[in-house]
Subunit: 220 residues, 2 copies
């Protein structure tokens, strides 16, 4: 037995996402939208990424959270420009919020803006922000069955980072089955296997991101 | 720097939640709303719970997912009445969907309805379904800092089940700090520490639930 409920498409968001895109193109800034469930490791991944990129590139971070500013404070401690968006209850970032945040950042000479979306595998996938790259992170502790339950996120992402691979021996996570399922839904997705805790695999991802930032303007 | 966005309150949902509540009271059925991030273990927890309760109580399950019906099929394999709600993209269940599902279940002589909400720590906390008990599950792999980032869910839940405690030795999860943070936000919350994988602690939770189902009508 199934009950279907349909939702509309958000044209207003799309218009502002295009404005963001045009602004970033004008400034020559590459923007990454990082999405995941709560606790999959977005902030840790961003901190690891900044560590590898900040010598070569000028970076800024937009932090999206329901409440609080712990994440933007952690980023700012590294000396990286960070702005916090508190959505006040909303479960995803919208292009308009990112537009306001971009306007408040000093992006002269900037190369990369990383946006940390609200921890949620559902709605963030529906709201384009004007990003070059949609990155989703899955923690292995979430299980290999998630693609079938959250199909839009897994279909829409350009990059999938499988995090906490150091936990695989202690879980039932089947990495090969997981990758096979994802690739059926999203054949062009680039998959990286990492542990933010141990550092394993991080440079595969950051190396690839460096290539993308350098070749900016090439849209995915 | 902060950007605030406010959301309204959903009166229509509240009216239907009350209808659900009245229907359940009339039937003498206890309803539990299970909420968590994707992959925290809602379905595993419900299966474990049914295992302990199904000899004594007549149970039914309402499964909420964006897409698919793997979960309701897993429940139905146990011989338990299960109905799948596919939200078609929406990130939470609403009282109206549960109302429709309740109408399709055979609840004559039923004792307990367990609702598995969509995997999301944000919006499900805002939509009352007419439940007796709001149960949230946190997997230790998500980290002990989650209460401050998803305050509504942690403040609203009556029961907090800390799952995957078998993974604690392999993570930085600080259980005491976590419980302290939660209790400051929600002094009356009942906390259970379990592992659905090993079975540890499950009976503490199911024992308590049995007491609640038997004493039904006592609202939390």
């Amino acid at each position: 037995m199934e009950i279907e409920v349909l939702e509309g498409i958000f044209d207003a968001n799309e218009i502002i996402a295009r404005e963001n895109r045009a602004l970033l193109d004008r400034l020559g800034v590459f923007m990454v939208n990082v999405m995941s469930s709560p606790g999959a490791g977005k902030t840790s991944m961003i901190l690891r990424t900044l560590e590898d990129l900040e010598d070569e590139f000028s970076c800024a971070v937009i932090e999206g959270d329901i409440a609080g500013k712990v994440d933007s404070e952690r980023i700012a401690e590294r000396g990286v420009q960070a702005i916090q968006i508190n959505t006040g209850g909303s479960c995803h970032l919208e292009a308009k919020q990112v537009n306001t945040a971009l306007g408040r950042l000093d992006l002269e000479g900037a190369d990369l803006v990383v946006v940390e979306n609200v921890g949620n595998l559902v709605c963030p996938a529906e709201f384009r922000l004007g990003e070059d790259l949609k990155v989703m992170i899955l923690s292995v502790a979430e299980g290999h069955d998630k693609p079938l339950k959250y199909p839009l996120m897994f279909s829409e992402c350009h990059v999938l980072i499988v995090n906490k691979i150091d936990l695989i021996p202690y879980t039932d996570f089947d990495l090969e089955l997981f990758k096979e399922t994802v690739r059926k839904m999203n054949p062009s997705v680039e998959i990286f296997e990492v542990s933010c805790r141990t550092g394993e695999g991080i440079q595969d991802w950051t190396g690839r991101l460096k290539e993308r930032v350098t070749g900016r303007g090439i849209d995915t």
